[in-house]
C-alpha cells in the first residue's frame, strides 16, 4: 500500500469534505437535537460493541501486509498481542510491535 496516490486533487477534496461532513454531522445532530437517553437495550449494546468490531476487522488481516515482508509483520503482531494481553499501555504495545518488525526486517536483510 506504499506509493503514489492515483487520484485527482478534485476527487481527493471531495472525499475529504464528505468524510469531515459525515463525521461532524453524526456528532452534532444527536448532541443538538436529542436530549433523552436511548432506551433500547439492543441498540445500546450494538453501539457499545461497534468500536471493538471495527478495530478488529480493520486490524486483521491488514496488519499482516503492513510491512515489507510477512515474517516481520507476524513477529510484530505476536509481540503486540502478548503485550496487550498483559495490559501494557498503547504506546508500549505500538513501539513493541513496530520495533520487533524493524529488527526482523534488519535481520532478514542481513542474512539474505
Amino acid at each position: 500500500m506504499n506509493g503514489e496516490l492515483n487520484m485527482s486533487i478534485g476527487h481527493l477534496a471531495l472525499y475529504l469534505a464528505v468524510m469531515a461532513l459525515v463525521t461532524y454531522l453524526i456528532r452534532m445532530i444527536p448532541f443538538t437535537l436529542f436530549r433523552k437517553e436511548i432506551k433500547s437495550a439492543f441498540f445500546r449494546s450494538f453501539l457499545a460493541y461497534v468500536p471493538y468490531a471495527v478495530l478488529g476487522a480493520m486490524t486483521f488481516p491488514s496488519i499482516f501486509f503492513a510491512t515489507a515482508s510477512l515474517p516481520s509483520a507476524i513477529a510484530g503482531t505476536v509481540v503486540a498481542l502478548i503485550l496487550a494481553f498483559f495490559r501494557r499501555s498503547l504506546l508500549t504495545v505500538a513501539v513493541g510491535a513496530s520495533g520487533t518488525a524493524l529488527i526482523v526486517e534488519l535481520l532478514l536483510g542481513f542474512f539474505s
Binding site: L16, M19, A57, L81, A94
Partner: protein, 254 residues
C-alpha cells in the same frame, strides 16, 4: 450566564493527559496517511477536520482503494456513519450531564470535540458540565491530535520505506492494545472482536467475496458482529461508554 461548576482552565488541565495520549495515536495516523500517498499537509487537514482514529484510518484505506467516484463516496459515507455511530450515542448520553449553558449554538460548535476519552472525562464529572469547561477540555487533545499527525506524516516522508512499513504497525498495535484488555474482561467484546476478525479474513481471502470493496467488507463485518454480539450478550443498562481504562495514561481511542 449562570455560574458554571467548572472553569475553562480546569477543562484545559483535564485535557492534558488526553492530549499527550493522542500524540502517539495520531503519529500513527500521520504515518498511515503518507503511506497511502498523501502529503503531510493533507494528513494534517484530515486530522483537524475529523479527530477520530478508526474513522480516519478507514477513510485513508478507502482513498487508497481509488474506487470509481460514486461508489467510493457512498462507501465513505456508509463507513464513517457506522464507525462513528458511537459518537451519536455518546452525544445523547452526555446531554444528561450538561448544564443550561449548553444552548443550541454551543452544542453545534462543541459537538466536534466528542471523542471516547473526552466523553469519558466529561460525563464522569461530579457536577453538571458547562460550556467553559467542555470547551477547555477539547483544546489540548485537539492540538495533540493535529501535532502528532503532522509529526508522523513528516517522519513518514523522511524515513525509508522499510522503516515506514514497520512504523505502520504502530497504529495496528494501538488498536490491538485497545481491543484486548476489554476482550479479556467481557465475553461480549471478545465475541464481537473474534467474529469481526473472522468475517474480515473470510471477505479478504475467499475469492467469492472479491466483489466487495475493502470499505464495504469492513462495514458488513463490523455491523454483523456487533449485532450478533448485542443479541447474545446485551450490555447492562447505563454502560454506553467505550471501556477506557488507562493504566499508564495511554489508553486512547479518539
Amino acid at each position: 450566564m449562570k455560574k458554571q461548576a467548572y472553569t475553562f482552565r480546569e477543562g484545559l488541565r483535564d485535557g492534558v493527559p488526553i492530549g499527550l495520549g493522542y500524540l502517539s495515536v495520531s503519529f500513527g495516523i500521520g504515518i498511515a496517511a503518507v503511506a497511502v500517498g498523501l502529503s503531510p499537509l493533507v494528513a494534517l487537514i484530515i486530522s483537524m477536520t475529523n479527530e477520530t482514529s478508526a474513522g480516519q484510518k478507514a477513510g485513508l484505506d478507502l482513498i487508497a482503494d481509488c474506487l470509481p467516484l460514486a461508489e467510493g463516496i457512498i462507501t465513505m459515507i456508509l463507513s464513517q456513519l457506522v464507525i462513528n455511530l458511537r459518537y451519536s450515542l455518546m452525544g445523547i448520553s452526555l446531554s444528561q450531564r450538561l448544564d443550561s449553558s449548553f444552548t443550541t449554538p454551543w452544542r453545534m460548535l462543541l459537538s466536534f470535540s466528542i471523542t471516547d476519552e473526552i466523553f469519558a472525562v466529561a460525563s464522569t464529572k461530579k457536577e453538571k458540565v458547562g460550556v467553559y469547561y467542555f470547551a477547555g477540555l477539547g483544546c489540548i487533545p485537539y492540538i495533540g491530535w493535529a501535532a502528532g499527525t503532522l509529526l508522523g506524516a513528516l517522519a513518514g516522508t523522511l524515513l525509508p520505506e522499510m522503516v515506514r512499513g514497520c512504523l505502520g504497525l504502530m497504529l495496528y498495535g494501538m488498536f490491538i492494545a485497545i481491543i484486548i484488555p476489554p476482550a479479556r474482561r467481557e465475553r461480549g467484546v471478545l465475541f464481537a472482536v473474534c467474529l469481526a476478525v473472522a468475517l474480515s479474513c473470510v471477505f479478504y481471502f475467499i475469492p467469492l467475496f472479491d466483489f466487495l470493496s475493502d470499505g464495504l467488507a469492513l462495514i458488513i463485518a463490523a455491523v454483523a458482529s456487533a449485532a450478533v454480539a448485542a443479541l447474545l450478550f446485551p450490555v447492562a443498562a447505563p454502560h454506553e461508554d467505550v471501556e477506557t481504562p488507562a493504566p499508564d495514561g495511554g489508553e486512547v481511542n479518539a
